[in-house]
């Protein structure tokens, strides 16, 4: 089976994967709700961290718990929990991210049986000196909470090993993203998305092995056909494979992204340090931020987005706005202005838990056609 097919199947069947892993190892599985949760702590405790994803299907069970003008993702995740799709989870962790996902975490711990629930206070003011001084205490507290829950100490050696495994994962995914710089890119946007999404639900060493295999397979891959417009996707939590498929079917060649199921998840590494807690803290403080963690001083997202746009020779940018995602909606004018300075056009696509394929496809086609005529 083609390695990208393995990524796809693992992501599509992520609940089966986690159940099988649990049965095989006897370990615990913890769901996390934001990429600012330091997974390394869980991994070092022999826990499988899995990102909680929505199901992209109509649902009618979250309204008593989350106001329906909270973002689609926050409601879709809770729906999956209430529907029992994540019944194998032993615990859940949220970070101090957007207000919407905090609501998901609160409702989850109220209504879905779970033996461990943790709110990781990830400081949002990441640019401040104080955040660098104080986040290690939060990471230490998280470590202690996990130790108390499992009844086992997490050694520094185990943490260092977790950092190494995660760093390898990040490096390999970045290597594969490098292959998207060519024209046409060596892997499609859909394949890249499936690869990153699979990383979030798989045992990292298993995923690393697949990434090595992917690198080897891509060397042998003959030039593939791709859309003629090089597109960057910018947005929040973009796990909708169907949307990516529609984009690429409409003629886009998605070459890079600024998304938390993309570069924001793996772009920077943890620098190895004598204290693994410091390494982990610095890694999360310095990772490419989402708008929630980019609220003062010079916006760090600007450099990340423009560097990617330049290096990946991006022609246009699709801004994916999850309906009612306030942090991203508030940042759209700024992102558009940065890209405009570089003569890169933008298209804002608002999406919901489910999308209308025809409508979205038509908008993308129209946008790409206009670009074509402009050239």
């Amino acid at each position: 089976m083609d390695v990208f097919e393995r990524f796809r199947q693992t992501f599509d069947n992520r609940h089966d994967y986690a159940r099988e892993w649990k049965k095989r190892t006897g370990g615990r599985v913890v769901g996390y709700l934001c990429t600012y949760v330091p997974e390394e702590i869980l991994y070092a405790a022999n826990i499988l961290p899995v990102r909680i994803f929505g199901g992209h299907e109509p649902q009618d069970i979250t309204e008593p718990h989350i106001w329906n003008m909270f973002c689609a993702y926050s409601r879709d995740c809770l729906a999956q929990g209430l529907l029992g799709r994540y019944s194998y989870l032993d615990g859940i962790v949220a970070a101090n991210g957007c207000q919407h996902i905090r609501q998901t975490h609160d409702s989850w711990q109220r209504h879905i049986p779970i033996s461990f629930s943790y709110f990781f206070y990830m400081t949002t003011h990441v640019q401040s000196r104080a955040a660098h001084a104080c986040l290690p205490d939060e990471v230490r507290d998280f470590r202690t909470a996990v130790e108390e829950w499992t009844g086992k100490a997490i050694s520094d050696d185990a943490l260092n090993r977790a950092i190494e495994v995660f760093n390898t994962n990040r490096r390999l995914m970045k290597d594969l993203y490098e292959l998207r710089k060519s024209d046409p890119p060596m892997l499609s946007g859909l394949e890249a998305l499936e690869m990153v999404a699979a990383s979030m639900v798989m045992e990292k060493e298993d995923h690393n092995r697949l990434l090595e295999q992917a690198k080897a397979e891509l060397k042998k891959r003959s030039q593939r056909e791709a859309g003629k417009v090089r597109v960057m996707m910018v947005g929040s939590e973009m796990d909708d494979l169907n949307l990516m498929h529609i984009l690429e079917a409409a003629g886009a060649s998605v070459v890079v992204d600024d998304s938390c199921v993309g570069t924001r998840y793996f772009w920077n590494q943890a620098e190895m340090n004598s204290d693994p807690i410091l390494s982990i803290s610095e890694r999360y403080l310095n990772k490419p931020p989402c708008p929630v963690y980019d609220i003062t001083g010079v916006r760090r997202r600007k450099e990340h987005i423009l560097t990617l746009a330049h290096e990946y020779n991006v022609q246009t940018c699709v801004l994916i706005l999850q309906k009612f995602c306030e942090p991203h909606e508030m940042s759209i004018p700024a992102v558009q202005s940065w890209l405009k300075e570089r003569d890169i056009s933008t298209l804002v696509l608002e999406t919901d838990i489910t999308i209308s394929a025809g409508q979205v496809g038509t908008r993308i086609e129209a946008h790409l056609e206009m670009l074509d005529q402009g050239e």
């Binding site: 718990h65 949002t124 003062t296 009612f324 995602c325 909606e329």
Partner: protein
């Protein structure tokens, strides 16, 4: 305010939540709440308000973004931010707190537009993180001296911290009077009173004096049995932002003798409370009662951090939702509430965070609850007919009241 510069005083732009005492070491400063000096005027003028909102939307800030930002930024775009004679508002520095996350983002957007020196302080939820807050406050002081070119005076800080703590305690004592049946004040009056803290700042001696007088007066109402609404027979609690441009929310239920008498948002955002083990709110002790000493900057900042992290449960609720919901539920019981009304606002998520779970929690305590679709700042999104219909059904069918008058 517009003449502050002529008097050599400073103008600080900031939201409703900043640590008002903190900048005081630099000398007298005036506070422009994040809604700007003419915000009331904007909210009172339908045409101006909708023009402001439209303008902001044209700039790319859609209807799902923070409504306060849209009204503020929009009013700046249509010229509503400056004085009516066209005098420009010159901001010396901008301090905002990261508490309500969209509010922090709004501040960033406004600061970029103003090009004023901007400093953000994140207020964490618990005392465990006090070192984080204190370090940011120290950095702010250093920054403030640089951007204003003025020397920071620790004695002024100490006085301001004393004032801010006292104002918060006075506010809590005043809110505590609302437990009395019938209530001495309506929720709308409470918010009007609260406004002074947002506009003048909690750190000023005249603010302390005002709330001492206000508390005396409210206590007098209680002693004399004076009710805010003489026909009070049902006490309502409101969570989520009120509809600032229209008083219908609070006034309409009075036809049934139902009076809004409080809210966690109103009591908690400006007060100082000690939350007991069982979740009950007790007015916080004063600095003197706690025996806290402030002899230097470090001690003053530690006291200020204590106030915000130990005695401000309203702040905690943005991060720790379970506490917000528990707080609201205990307030509903302790303030003798007969029914909870929540505004599921179409854009202000910070204020309506936890509303849905609060409804479940409060109902479990045997207190009926209803939610309506509100729009605290955008009248184009508010359906007053639907609100009236919902509240009428709630009062008559759920609470069994009949209207006292049409």
């Amino acid at each position: 305010m517009y003449t502050a510069e002529e008097r050599g005083e400073l103008l600080m732009f900031g939201g409703v939540g900043p640590l008002h005492a903190l900048p005081s070491g630099i000398g007298t400063y005036h506070l422009i709440g994040s809604f700007g000096p003419n915000f009331g005027k904007v909210l009172d003028d339908y045409d101006l308000l909708t023009r402001s909102l439209d303008m902001c939307e044209q700039a790319g800030y859609g209807a799902g973004t923070c409504p306060s930002l849209r009204a503020l930024l929009g009013s700046m775009m249509v010229g509503g931010f400056d004085s009516s004679d066209g005098k420009k508002t010159k901001i010396d520095f901008h301090l905002e707190t990261a508490l309500c996350q969209p509010q922090a983002q709004s501040a960033q957007i406004v600061a970029e537009r103003h090009n004023a020196p901007f400093f953000l302080i994140e207020i964490p939820p618990t005392e465990k993180q006090s070192a984080f807050l204190i370090m940011q406050m120290n950095d702010f002081i250093e920054w403030l001296e640089k951007v204003t070119g003025r020397k920071y005076d620790d004695e002024k800080l100490i006085t301001a911290v004393n004032n801010e703590w006292e104002v918060r305690v006075l506010w809590s004592r005043l809110c505590e009077q609302q437990k009395v049946v019938p209530a001495p004040l309506k929720l709308a009056s409470l918010y009007s009173f609260m406004n002074l803290m947002w506009r003048s700042g909690r750190h000023r001696p005249e603010t302390v004096e005002f709330y001492r007088l206000a508390l005396d007066e409210v206590r007098h109402f209680v002693e004399e049995g004076i009710a805010a609404v003489s026909t009070e027979r049902c006490r309502l609690m409101h969570e989520g932002s009120l509809t600032w441009y229209d008083s219908i929310i609070t006034k309409y239920p009075e036809r049934w003798g139902a009076v809004f008498t409080g809210s966690e948002m109103c009591f908690g955002s400006q007060g100082a409370w000690e939350v007991e083990e069982n979740g009950c709110w007790k007015v916080a002790p004063t600095i003197g009662e706690l025996g806290l000493e402030m002899r230097n900057r470090d001690e003053a900042l530690a006291v200020l951090a204590k106030l915000y992290l130990q005695y401000a449960p309203g702040n905690q609720g943005f991060a720790l939702l379970d506490r917000r919901i528990r707080n609201r539920t205990t307030i509903a019981k302790d303030w003798h509430i007969d029914g909870l009304v929540t505004n599921n606002d179409r854009a202000c998520r910070g204020a309506c965070l936890g509303n849905t779970e609060t409804v479940i929690s409060v109902k479990q305590e045997g207190i009926p609850a209803v939610s309506y679709d509100g729009a605290c700042i955008d009248p184009r999104d508010f359906d007053d007919i639907a609100y009236k219909s919902q509240i009428e059904t709630f009062l008559e069918t759920t609470l069994g009241l009949t209207a006292l008058y049409d």
